[in-house]
């Protein structure tokens, strides 16, 4: 599947990760241009680090290693696009790779 084809599934999965992390349903319907840090989803630097750890586990993409400037952390959509470009197809929850 192409990165563009993968993007919607990555976005949906990323929203679920964010909802888990924040304990809030708002990320499930937040627009893709919602900032991840501070005023948007409201992650602080530790929250951002936890998010990247979950992303690494779920998609096998080590954002903190590949994106030194962490530009991908700007918005939900930018992080989803970064992941979609590098990840294989996301697996449904609970299935073995």
């Amino acid at each position: 599947m192409t990165a563009a084809g993968r993007a919607p599934a990555v976005l949906a999965e990323l929203r679920r990760i964010l909802a888990d992390l924040t304990g809030d349903a708002w990320p499930l319907r937040a627009p893709p241009d919602t900032p991840l840090l501070r005023d948007g989803i409201g992650l602080d630097s530790l929250g951002g680090a936890l998010l990247l750890r979950s992303v690494h586990r779920r998609f096998g993409v080590d954002v903190a290693d590949e994106d030194l400037n962490l530009d991908s952390l700007a918005t939900i959509g930018s992080l989803a696009a970064f992941i979609a470009q590098r990840a294989g197809d996301p697996l449904p929850e609970g299935t073995a790779p």
Partner: protein, 350 residues
């Protein structure tokens, strides 16, 4: 270095089973209660992981005379209890010891958390003498660590009930961040921060006490200390920066070391320090600030804070020797245009 010991209660820290004697719950095992007090005096935290109702934690506090930094009581797996405690106290597995009389519980925790030091109760008195339980320096901040974690618990409970933004909450707590040049008296705590901090540390390894003493005395360096307090408690010295002011490049402040205690996380300290460095550098006539930073999975929170303050990363073509084999990047930003605001609760003196 062990920062926290997680204790089972029944037949471990307690001389019996809590629920079997509701009228007169068991007392603490004296030898282990003594270890709890001794390790607490060295700045090591204690926590409880017990298959008991939550009241058991209160009883253990009475029996040992110690206030535990965290307690996970319930009927889930001990490894899950350890996970919860690590999350609450922001600890890594390598900083945690787990003590349980049941070999199955020990095996379950060891399997789930290979980094955790797993001990049987009878091993504890001897283990307390091991190097990983013996911090090289014990500062005032370390001695009061348990108390400060209790202050943190109170702060978090209040935050959960507080309706406003994080910034409003920091104001509500009367947060005070004080940024000032470090002096010789700060050396032990600076050394301790250098050895203990990981998530907010730009260096790949701890600096020796001698190296820090030389930096404090060097005419071409500034060591900046950051102190934090609010109405819940005085956290003391929680962060520092070492800035090189080389004569060759007066237009640039080069930050050689940035570090902050994870206890200060989420309290506006790193933002205040980075904002203050940018503003102080510009006042001193510099046009750029750069931060040499190790690129590792452990210091992602620091790198996120740098990126959020407008720093951009560049990797050197050749790995510098100073990195000691670590992958290094230079995060820098220009000082023209608008700089990050110094929050209202932060005060800097130069």
């Amino acid at each position: 270095m062990i920062k926290c010991v997680v204790w089972d209660l029944d037949n471990t820290l307690l001389d019996g089973v809590y629920l079997e004697s509701p009228d007169k719950p068991p007392s603490a095992v004296p030898a282990l209660a003594a270890v709890v007090a001794e390790l607490a005096a060295r700045g090591i935290l204690h926590a409880i992981a017990s298959r008991n109702p939550p009241e058991a934690a209160g009883h253990a506090e009475q029996a040992t005379g110690h206030r535990f930094a965290a307690a996970a009581c319930g009927w889930g797996a001990k490894s899950q209890a350890v996970t919860e405690i690590m999350a609450e106290l922001e600890l890594e597995p390598g900083a945690v010891a787990f003590v349980d009389d049941d070999p199955l519980e020990r095996a379950e925790v060891a399997h789930a958390h290979p980094g955790v030091l797993v001990l049987a109760p009878q091993e504890v008195p001897e283990a307390a003498g091991w190097p990983q339980f013996s911090p090289p320096v014990i500062t005032d901040e370390a001695r009061r660590r348990g108390e400060l974690y209790l202050a943190r618990r109170a702060r978090r409970e209040e935050e959960a009930a507080f309706g406003g933004s994080r910034e409003e909450f920091l104001r509500h707590c009367r947060t005070q961040v004080t940024i000032a040049p470090a002096g010789p008296a700060d050396l032990p705590r600076l050394h301790e921060l250098s050895a203990r901090t990981r998530q907010f540390n730009s260096a790949g390894a701890a600096l020796s006490r001698e190296r820090l003493a030389r930096l404090l005395a060097a005419p071409d360096r500034r060591v900046i200390a950051v102190r934090l307090r609010d109405r819940f408690g005085d956290d003391g010295l929680v962060g520092a920066a070492v800035v090189a002011l080389p004569a060759a490049a007066p237009g640039e402040w080069s930050v050689e070391l940035l570090m902050m205690s994870c206890r200060a996380m989420g309290r506006g300290v790193i933002e205040a320090l980075l904002a203050w460095i940018c503003r102080a550098a510009r006042s001193a006539g510099a046009g750029r600030v750069s931060v040499a930073c190790v690129v590792s999975p452990r210091n992602v929170p620091l790198r996120i804070a740098l990126a959020a303050t407008g720093f951009r990363a560049a990797e050197p073509a050749v790995a510098p020797a100073a990195g000691g084999g670590h992958r290094m990047a230079t995060y820098s930003r220009r000082l023209d245009g608008s700089l990050p605001e110094l929050p209202g609760w932060a005060r800097g003196t130069w």
